[in-house]
Symmetry: C2
Subunit: 213 residues, 2 copies
C-alpha cells in the first residue's frame, strides 16, 4: 500500500513551482490542507508549513499573519476542494435520490482516491479539535453541518418525489447514511480498503428499506 | 454545556493525592488517558503530563522511561477502563442479541457520561495517528479491531440462536452498527447530545430489519 505521504500529490496544484522558489497562496494552502489530514491542524504552524513547501518563514508570513489565520485559510481551501470534487457535481443531479447517491459515492471516491492523503479533511479535523473551542473549530464544524444539510435536503427531495417513504425522518436517515460514509473513511485510512464497499452495500440496503411503500 | 475539562473528573482515580505530592502509576495513567481525548496522543509528553498531574518531570521519568513508553501505557490503561465500563459487563449477557445490544448501549453510555472527556478514546486516537506507523498506532488499532470482533461475534451468536437472519453477513452488520455508534460519538463530542438517541433508533431499526424471517 502506498503511504500517506506517497499519495499526497493528489491535491498538489497542477502548476510547476516558480523559478524564484515562491509558490502561490493557493498552492501553499493545498499543501497545508493535505498536511493537516496526516499531521493534524494543531501542529500546522507557519514554521512547519515553511518546511513542507520549501519556503522561508518570512515568505509565508507575507501570506499569513498568524498561525490561526493560516489554519482558517486552510479550512477554507479544504472546503473549496471538497465542494469541487464531491458536493457541486453531486448537486447537479436531477432528482433527490440521485443527489443522495452521488453525494455518497463521490464522498467514497474522494476517500478512495486520497484527495486528502489522510482521508476526509473534516472528519480528521473534527476528531482532533472537537473539544477545543475557537474559530478554527467553528469553521470546520460549520462545514460538517453543511454537508449533513446536503444529505438531509436530498432525502427530503426524494421524499417529495416519491422515491423515499415520506414517513421517514430525514435527519435520522441522513445520520445513518453519514455514519456509513464516515465509518468507511476511518477504516479505509486505517488500511481496510474493503470498508468502502461495505458502505456502498449499507447504503443500498438502507435505500431499499426506506423506499416508498 | 460543561466543557471537556470540567468533565475530566470522570475517570480520575477515586483516591486522594498522596501527602508527598506523588501519585500512583495508575492515577497518572488515568489522567493521561483523559488528556489524550482532549489534546491528542501526539502531544502527550512526559513534560505535558507532569504539568497536568502536578508532578516533576523527573518524578514521571521514574514511572516511564520515554514518551513512547508513556503513550503505550496510556493506551493499555484506556483499554482497561473501556473493558471495565463497556465490554466486560456486556459480554456477561446470556444471548448474542443481548450482548450486541449491551455492547452498543454501554458504548453510548460511556460517551454520554464522559468516561473519557473527549469521547471514545480509540476513535480519538485512531483519527489522529491512523496515518503515522508505529507501535502506538498498532496498539490503538488492535483495540479497535478487538471491539469490532466483539460486535461481529455477538451477531454470529444471535444468528445461531435464531434472533438474527442467518443469511446476514455478520461483518457487514457489525460495520453498520459500529458506524452508528461512532457517528453518535463524533456528534455528541461536537455538542449534539441528540446524536445518542439517533444511534439508538438506528440500531433498533436495523435489528428489526435483520430479524430472522
Amino acid at each position: 500500500m502506498a503511504t500517506a505521504r506517497d499519495r499526497s500529490h493528489a491535491i498538489a496544484a497542477p502548476r510547476k513551482p516558480r523559478a524564484d522558489g515562491q509558490k502561490s497562496r493557493d498552492a501553499i494552502l493545498r499543501t497545508a490542507a493535505g498536511l493537516v489530514t496526516v499531521e493534524g491542524i494543531t501542529g500546522l504552524s507557519i514554521g512547519r508549513l515553511a518546511d513542507a513547501v520549501g519556503m522561508s518563514k518570512s515568505g509565508l508570513y507575507a501570506h499569513f499573519g498568524s498561525k490561526e489565520e493560516l489554519q482558517l485559510a486552510t479550512v477554507d481551501t479544504a472546503c473549496r476542494i471538497y465542494d469541487d470534487v464531491v458536493v457541486l457535481p453531486a448537486l447537479g443531479e436531477a432528482t433527490g435520490r440521485a443527489r443522495l447517491e452521488a453525494l455518497a459515492e463521490r464522498f467514497l471516491m474522494h476517500v478512495q482516491e486520497s484527495v486528502f492523503p489522510g482521508g476526509c479533511f473534516f472528519a480528521s479535523v473534527a476528531a482532533e479539535i472537537d473539544t477545543q473551542p475557537g474559530p478554527v473549530r467553528d469553521s470546520a464544524m460549520a462545514a460538517s453541518a453543511q454537508w449533513f444539510e446536503h444529505l438531509a435536503s436530498a432525502i427530503q427531495s426524494a421524499q417529495a418525489e416519491g422515491e423515499i417513504d415520506p414517513a421517514e425522518d430525514a435527519v435520522q436517515l441522513a445520520f445513518e447514511v453519514n455514519a456509513y460514509l464516515l465509518m468507511a473513511n476511518a477504516q479505509f485510512v486505517a488500511g481496510d480498503a474493503g470498508a468502502l464497499d461495505r458502505a456502498r452495500r449499507a447504503l443500498k440496503r438502507k435505500l431499499e428499506s426506506v423506499a416508498r411503500p
